[in-house]
Symmetry: none
Subunit: 226 residues, 2 copies
DNA sequence: CGGAGGCTGACAGCCGGATTACAAATGCGT
DNA sequence: ACGCATTTGTAATCCGGCTGTCAGCCTCCG
């Protein structure tokens, strides 16, 4: 199995190459978009790992070029934490999966293997709870069939809550997943964000989906009928 | 559940070992990187708690060695400074979670449990005794199928009693696990907390599950029918 | 019968969360 | 690059109810 890594950052690139080699793959690494694109279309790979942050020709162009070439070549792209639009864009351009930096190597490995086996995205496209739906691809949210505009943070927060539906998520976890920060106890940014999200998806609907667990965090769940 | 602590600092190491032992885990403590690495790969642990600040072979090398060994062994690392790069480095090297020192012991315990649950799912999600159930993820308690609202302290206390079902738990142990404090003999906070818990889960139900052992502490158990 | 240990109800301080207003930052179009 | 609109973080305040303390009572056991 041959894998091509297109990554500008030296540390990350070397790290990925080494890790994947150790996992038993044949790995090539190129450090800029132009070369990456050429290599990807001329040689024969089973998978491309692509950083979207590249100097010169960026990840989008590379991805577009690969897709224009018509090959059925799985592409896994790497994107910064809070860029939901980036992920949407990537998936719309035909990437097969994405990973948010920073990530655990084991996570990358798992996805690489899945892509090689199935060749398709492992991401569900629509998350839902009761009459609430969240479409990852289109970046759209509806409740009771009515469309709701969410900001980036609200969307990311709701996505997290939906993915871990039924679990009480501590503030510290939410902070690390939705914000790129450690929990700084003297900020109520999360509370406020939840408030704003509630205003849009819960205030004028029933049942209420977001529940506060005092001293613990927040859960999104469909309440049991009494 | 076996946990390995790799920690150079004496005080922290002892503190962690004692706390985790009291929580019911089997705990080994190693005080330097070289031994730690060796122990981690040769023996059979369910989790490693790893300080990155180690003399000689540092935490990164230990982590790398463990991962190179190919085991699917959850690693929680402790970092002194709140440096984003450190955190990223740790996660990239394959750690599963991190904690910034200083931390509350209860926080560590929560994360340890999460990792154990996620890693192997041997860790139960629902604790129960007779018709009493406690759902850790949803943070919900029912008795005889009726939902019961518990406060944070009540929940923590009941969780402890259920985890150590059948064991008589001395007040001092309860104090250290549920409160982040040492037992201060001239407080009856624990008695009061137990009273309040009983009011909710025992008063209007049979059989009574919480029993007082005079001079010893409290046990939660399903009484044998006479 | 006395004392220690445990139970109980009242009470008040305090904590965690909700809410709102405002300031800073981000981003978008030109 | 600039200015405007929107988003996002911070801070201040409010509120309910959690939780530790205490005083008095009960119960077990010597």
């Amino acid at each position: 199995m041959k894998i091509l890594i297109i990554e500008d950052e030296h540390k990350t690139g070397d790290y990925l190459k080494q890790g994947l080699s150790e996992a038993g793959f044949v790995v090539d690494l190129v450090r800029n978009g132009t070369d990456g694109m050429h290599t990807a279309v001329t040689e024969d790979y089973d998978l491309v790992v692509l950083d979207v942050m590249l100097p010169g020709m960026d990840g989008w162009q590379v991805l577009k070029a690969i897709r224009a070439d018509g090959k059925d070549l799985p592409v896994l792209f790497l994107t910064a934490r809070d860029r939901v639009e980036e992920r949407v864009k990537g998936l719309e351009l035909g990437a097969d999966d994405y990973l948010v930096k920073p990530f655990a190597f084991s996570e990358l490995l798992a996805r690489v293997r899945t892509l090689l086996r199935r060749g398709k995205s492992i991401e569900p496209v629509v998350l839902s709870a009761a009459d609430l739906e969240l479409d990852l691809l289109r970046h759209r949210v509806t409740r009771a069939r009515k469309q709701i505009d969410l900001t980036t943070k609200e969307f990311a927060l709701l996505e997290l809550l939906l993915r871990r539906q039924g679990e009480v998520l501590p503030r510290s976890l939410i902070a690390s997943q939705v914000w790129d920060m450690n929990f700084d106890s003297d900020t109520n940014a999360i509370d406020v964000a939840v408030r704003r999200l509630r205003a849009k998806i819960d205030d004028e609907f029933e049942p209420k989906l977001i529940r506060t667990v005092r001293g613990m965090g927040y859960v999104l769940e469909v309440p049991e009928r009494a």
